[in-house]
């Protein structure tokens, strides 16, 4: 079934190499996209709970726009529409980026900003799930609002949502496959291309699927490790607040 991987394509490379190059783009998108998403997500999530109306409203607007349009459509907008809205020179420069960069950057921004909206909601949920007393205690000690957020609220909220962030990490790496619609030859696109070139649909898709599964496993283990690393001593790992909402393989803590 997998012998297709060891045949050579028209360019003389093994189809296995095709898949691996697809994997490379998938990983690059997922990894860099994730840090974009995380950075924006934390800021916007904290903004959502801000006492300033303006900041809260802007954050809300961001979240609503970016999470309520399908990634597929957003992908299109980033790719085709954004360059037209930029100043002509810049737009042209963007459009003439050599492939695959011309597709990679829009895909990266699309996935980053889309996932950021979802991360922001998790961060907000984490902040809201903290006992009221934490902020009160910080205030009572005379800490400023900014310090309260920085030292008390956000560190705890992030720990609280590590399990649900796991699902967002998985989400972004799965959504990378949507980038094939703007011509980025990531893993799924390569699998499809192999299947079109060789008509060995089963072998091509099975290989890609196994890679996705392995990736998911790695991502999941990584998040478990992070969870354990940032686990607060003396708190039980299966506290109901620490919902293992998207625990993947078996029970949490089984690792």
């Amino acid at each position: 079934m997998f012998d297709v991987l060891f045949q050579r394509g028209f360019d003389g490379r093994l189809y296995l190499e095709w898949l691996l190059s697809g994997l490379g783009w998938t990983l690059a998108l997922a990894f860099i996209g994730w840090w974009i998403a995380f950075a924006i997500g934390v800021l916007v999530g904290v903004g959502r709970t801000s006492k300033s109306r303006v900041i809260a409203a802007l954050s809300r607007l961001y979240v609503e726009i970016f999470r309520n349009i399908p990634v597929l459509v957003q992908m299109f907008l980033w790719y085709f529409v954004l360059p037209e809205l930029l100043p002509t020179g810049l737009g042209t420069w963007v459009k003439q980026l050599p492939p695959p960069w011309g597709a990679f950057f829009p895909a990266l921004l699309c996935l980053g900003t889309y996932t950021a909206a979802r991360v922001a909601e998790q961060v907000r949920a984490g902040i809201e799930a903290l006992p009221q007393g934490q902020e009160e205690a910080a205030a009572a000690l005379g800490l400023s609002q900014l310090d309260t957020r920085r030292f008390v609220v956000v560190p705890q909220a992030l720990r609280l949502i590590i399990p649900s962030l796991t699902s967002e990490v998985m989400g972004i790496y799965k959504n990378t496959s949507v980038a094939l619609t703007i011509g980025l030859l990531e893993l799924t696109a390569q699998a499809r291309q192999i299947s079109e070139n060789t008509f060995q649909t089963f072998g091509a898709f099975a290989s890609a699927t196994i890679i996705y599964l392995l990736l998911a496993l790695v991502a999941y283990r990584l998040m478990l490790w992070i969870d354990a690393k940032y686990h607060i001593p003396g708190t039980s790992p299966s506290k109901p607040a620490r919902k293992p909402l998207f625990g993947l393989f078996g029970k949490r803590g089984a690792a």
Binding site: F76, V178, L248
Partner: protein, 230 residues
């Protein structure tokens, strides 16, 4: 780019509406079927039913690890072959795009719903199970009358959120050559070269629908929060 022509949107409205109807229908059907199956998957795991429980776990894990596009490809191209082989009919058994979409989305969503329900099951206070036991209620009664109603209450916002994502994901049925809202827009666009207008328009449609729905979720969440605080 300059001089967008939105008049084509107006002309295309009936066709787009048909596409939207398809998206909505698919969402509703996959939601219903996925929820039923999801509850079953979650219960099997929660009750640690031998054999079935690990199977359910593996199923959910696999479904949640693969991109939906990939799952759609599998079901669309390969399942007919597999079923054909299983039925020894010598020929592949065709499953239309519609059925592929319904089956795929239901099975796919079931995995997500089951995770939500499973967490819901765990977040029901242990005392509830104990109280039910102490009152000598049977396991079936405990789940039907005590646990599941509370689980649905707790998880309904999350389930609805997932359903909004499901609705957005229906745009991926283009790989099945089905015509949902996105598909309808891109087909019209192909005929008269108005991709940008079409995509901007459907982005707006999705935005309006999904924002209203998530507004509903917010209201629900507020309601459940009140219901669960004493």
């Amino acid at each position: 780019m300059n001089g967008l022509d939105f008049s084509v949107v107006a002309d295309a409205l009936p066709y787009l509406w048909k596409g939207l109807q398809f998206s909505l229908t698919l969402t509703v059907v996959a939601f219903a079927a996925g929820l039923v199956l999801g509850v079953a998957l979650a219960l099997v795991q929660h009750l640690e039913v031998p054999v079935l429980s690990p199977l359910a776990k593996v199923y959910v894990a696999i479904m949640r690890s693969i991109p939906l596009i990939m799952v759609l490809f599998w079901f669309f191209f390969l399942v007919p072959l597999i079923i054909g082989a299983m039925m020894n009919s010598g020929r592949p058994v065709p499953i239309g795009g519609l059925w592929t979409a319904i089956i795929t989305f239901s099975l796919f969503e079931a995995a997500y719903y089951s995770e939500i329900i499973r967490v819901g099951l765990r977040s029901v206070n242990k005392g509830q199970y104990e109280a039910a036991k102490a009152l000598s209620l049977s396991t079936a009664t405990t789940y039907r009358s005590i646990v599941l109603p509370q689980v649905f209450r707790i998880t309904s916002p999350i389930i609805l959120n997932q359903t909004i994502i499901l609705f957005q994901d229906t745009s991926l049925v283009y790989v099945l050559s089905l015509t949902d809202l996105t598909g309808a827009a891109s087909k019209i666009a192909q005929l008269n070269g108005t991709l940008v207008e079409m995509y901007l328009f459907i982005a707006l449609v999705y935005l309006v629908i999904c924002t209203s729905a998530s507004q509903l979720v917010a209201v629900l969440r507020k309601r459940t929060r009140i219901a669960t605080t004493r």
